[in-house]
């Protein structure tokens, strides 16, 4: 039987790293933490410009519902054009 390190397992000790009221930008090279205004339904990443629709699971737990589709498609098509992908 192992003895408990400081009374907490590694998983338990990582609990203090949890953040509330924020989510990360979904753009992989950005991943900026975005803190939407409480109750607001959209948020824009200040770093890369991605725009998201926001859902509030509870008053302290926002999640990205999805991108703003028109912006998302426009950005993707511009990028594909730049890359020469047909």
């Amino acid at each position: 039987m192992t003895t408990e390190k400081e009374g907490l397992s590694t998983a338990e000790s990582l609990r203090k790293t949890r953040t509330y009221g924020k989510f990360r930008c979904h753009n992989p090279t950005c991943m900026e933490r975005i803190q939407p205004e409480k109750g607001k339904k959209t948020a824009k990443c200040p770093t890369c410009g991605m725009e998201y629709r926001v859902h509030w699971v509870n008053p302290n737990l926002p999640r990205i519902r999805g991108p703003v589709w028109d912006t998302n498609r426009k950005l993707a098509e511009t990028k594909l054009k730049e890359m020469g992908v047909k």
């Binding site: 192992t2 408990e4 998983a11 992989p28 410009g49 990205i64 594909l80």
Partner: protein, 646 residues
């Protein structure tokens, strides 16, 4: 004591039934659940046996912690040689079956042979009998379970069953329990059908003595607190698993139109929030429910709101049904997802395989590889909701040329269709990929390629790789319980360090599957959820078995190796596109076209991918061909397999 639960050997050909205890040394090597099943499969199935023949052996089990004071020990595991892949078949489901089987005195069943006519096995407080199921054969998943309760005069009986898909030998038929608990992937329901085994029914009232009940309960409070305080589980409890699909689609990780796109655009109608609204509209505010001993409650209840099945009750949909009947087929309509989900639940058929094969056929149809002649006039274009629903029915009942062809699985279908159709089939080892698109995530691509039962997200996926966790957090997780000082990267588009993460997750998931705990209660979707260290305590308090986290890790490595040995015996070869650890060429050749800005244009670098496989093999103790080195087998105590210890 949980350790006094027995193993039963049931021969359906002869009717012979034997029960035996599980020796402690076997427990210490394999624990229970999937791990011990893998050992039993390797020892009790002959090399090259016909998966649909009487010599295929079917295992049904609970974990070593099932029905104890530990949390979320609802999982039932089913294993046999797969009729879909010809390799390892393995399925895992929630619900209430495994705890009831443990209360009836058993942790493992080993079922051989083939009954002369449809039967079901009934297990009741240590007694086992084989009963006539001719009147139940042909009934749907739910109706079968009610018919068995009626037959036995006991409304508390829990059954696992095969539905019409299993009876019709659809190669990806599920084993089911309850309304929607699915032992899916790899066709275990088809194995039941091939044995004329309609169901296994259980009812038990035998106590399970907990080794240290006070400590077990106290520790479980801590465990539960850790589970329910996690953001991921709060989200699951509110939106169910569809939130996973929603989050993945948001950044561009959902394969759409088979594999043409990596995001289902304008999918608002099947986003988890919309599904949740429908559940609330049709079932009321408190529409989430759960499995035995679980606090997360990720399972939604709903009624189909409109269409030919309007008012029909069902549960889910899981994220896999959103992928199968929404994204892959480009039919992002809630009514299609909810109806498709209902039909596969009713038929007992794998949603992922069904949706994947329909979307593959749609691409072939649009390319002219199959025509309206093969579809019996169905306009099988992407976006045709009616065609999706019609094809689900046709596959289950093997109606028409295409329905019958797809019911045999992708590889057999591609051989029948010919004309380059295989190139468009998104599969590994003969099993269709999850609805996710891993072109932007090398770690997830590696896990898909190397999963023991085929392309899989539940065998080794480092899902937390997507969270951009700081390296020091990653190191805390991935250097425990065995030291690791190699590279790790927070970037999920990177290749560095990923093989170790996949190897670690492979062992984490095997551990949880041996214990019988749900994966949502470990390091799968949440970085702060319990794993090896925590399990060591739970195991000790509940069973009295003293094992260090390192010893549990060793069990997991051993059990994964047994699965590898089984696959190698059945023909697994590293680069074989049909039976190996390799992805479809489209991962390497076709760039992502949608998603977040920096996902667009990404594809897997084949050279780096092959290096990842080399490194993954090294971690596992395999040579360059993916075969275990002699010293690895010696270290794991497997050099004398098959050993027939039980």
């Amino acid at each position: 004591m949980p350790l006094d639960r027995k193993i039963a050997y049931i021969d359906l050909t002869t009717g012979d039934i034997q029960t035996k205890p599980i020796p402690l040394d076997v427990r210490k090597k394999f624990l229970g659940g999937r791990g011990l099943d893998a050992y039993l499969l390797y020892n009790h199935t002959e090399k090259g046996c016909d998966p649909l023949g009487p010599k295929n052996t079917l295992m049904v089990s609970g974990g070593i912690l099932t029905a104890t004071c530990a949390s979320a020990t609802a999982r039932t595991h089913i294993m046999a040689k797969s009729p879909l892949t010809g390799l390892l078949g393995s399925a895992n489901m929630g619900g209430f079956f495994a705890p009831e089987m443990a209360w009836a005195g058993f942790h493992h069943l080993v079922i051989k042979g083939k009954a002369k006519h449809p039967v079901y096995i009934y297990i009741h407080n240590g007694e086992i009998e084989i009963r006539d199921a001719r009147d139940i054969w042909g009934q749907s998943v739910t109706d079968s379970q009610w018919a068995i309760r009626e037959d036995l005069g006991d409304q508390e009986v829990k059954s696992l069953v095969c539905g019409p898909a299993g009876e019709n030998l659809v190669r990806f038929a599920n084993v089911m329990t309850g309304i929607k608990n699915s032992g899916g992937r790899s066709g275990m329901g088809c194995v039941l059908g091939s044995k004329n085994l309609k169901a296994v029914a259980v009812r038990g009232t035998m106590d399970i003595k907990i080794a240290r009940p006070k400590e077990a309960l106290e520790y479980n409070k801590r465990f539960i607190d850790q589970i329910v305080s996690a953001k991921v589980n709060q989200t699951q409890g509110a939106l169910g698993t569809p939130f996973i699909w929603g989050a993945t689609n948001s950044w561009g990780g959902i394969r759409t139109r088979n594999f043409q796109y990596n995001q289902c655009e304008y999918a608002d109608d099947i986003e988890p929030e919309r599904i949740d609204e429908i559940c609330e509209e049709t079932m009321g505010k408190y529409h989430m429910t759960g499995c035995f001993g679980c606090q997360v409650h990720c399972r939604a209840q709903y009624k189909i709101p409109s269409g030919p099945y309007a008012g029909t009750y069902d549960e889910g949909p899981e994220y896999t049904s959103q992928g199968a009947f929404g994204g892959e087929t480009d039919t992002p309509r809630a009514i299609t997802v909810l109806t498709g989900n209902h039909l596969v639940n009713k038929f007992g058929m794998d949603n992922l395989e069904t949706g994947s094969l329909i979307s593959w056929a749609m691409e072939l149809y649009e390319l002219g590889i199959i025509t309206s002649k093969e579809t019996d006039g169905i306009d099988l274009k992407f976006g045709n909701d009616d065609a999706v629903i019609e094809m689900i029915d046709r596959i289950c009942f093997r109606k028409g040329w295409l329905g019958d062809t797809l019911a045999d699985g992708g590889i057999a279908a591609s051989e029948k269709i010919g004309k380059n159709s295989f190139n468009y089939l998104i599969q590994v080892k003969g099993m269709s990929n999850l609805h996710s698109d891993e072109r932007a995530t090398p770690a997830l691509a590696l896990n898909s390629a190397t999963g023991s039962r085929g392309s899989d997200h539940l065998r080794s996926r480092p899902a937390i790789d997507l969270y951009h966790l700081p390296e020091e957090v990653l190191r805390k997780i991935y250097s425990n319980p065995v030291p690791y000082d190699g590279p790790l990267s927070s970037e999920h588009t990177e290749y560095i360090g990923k093989p170790w993460q996949v190897f670690w997750q492979e062992n984490c998931y095997m551990g949880v599957d041996c214990l019988g705990i749900c994966k949502y209660h470990t390091t799968f979707l949440g970085a702060t959820l319990p794993n090896f260290e925590d399990w060591s305590k739970v195991l000790y308090y509940n069973t009295g078995l003293e094992m260090t986290p390192e010893e549990i890790w060793d069990v997991a490595v051993r059990c994964n190796m047994i699965e590898r040995l089984f696959n190698l015996r059945e023909g697994l070869a590293r680069d074989d596109l049909k039976k190996g650890d390799m992805l479809n060429h489209r991962y390497f050749d076709e760039p992502c076209r949608r998603g977040a800005i920096d996902v667009v244009g990404r594809k897997i670098d084949k050279k780096k991918f092959i290096q990842m496989i080399d490194e993954f093999y090294e971690h596992k103790g395999l040579d360059n061909n993916g075969v275990p080195k002699p010293e690895t087998l010696k270290k794991l105590g497997l050099k004398n397999e098959p050993s027939h210890l039980v």
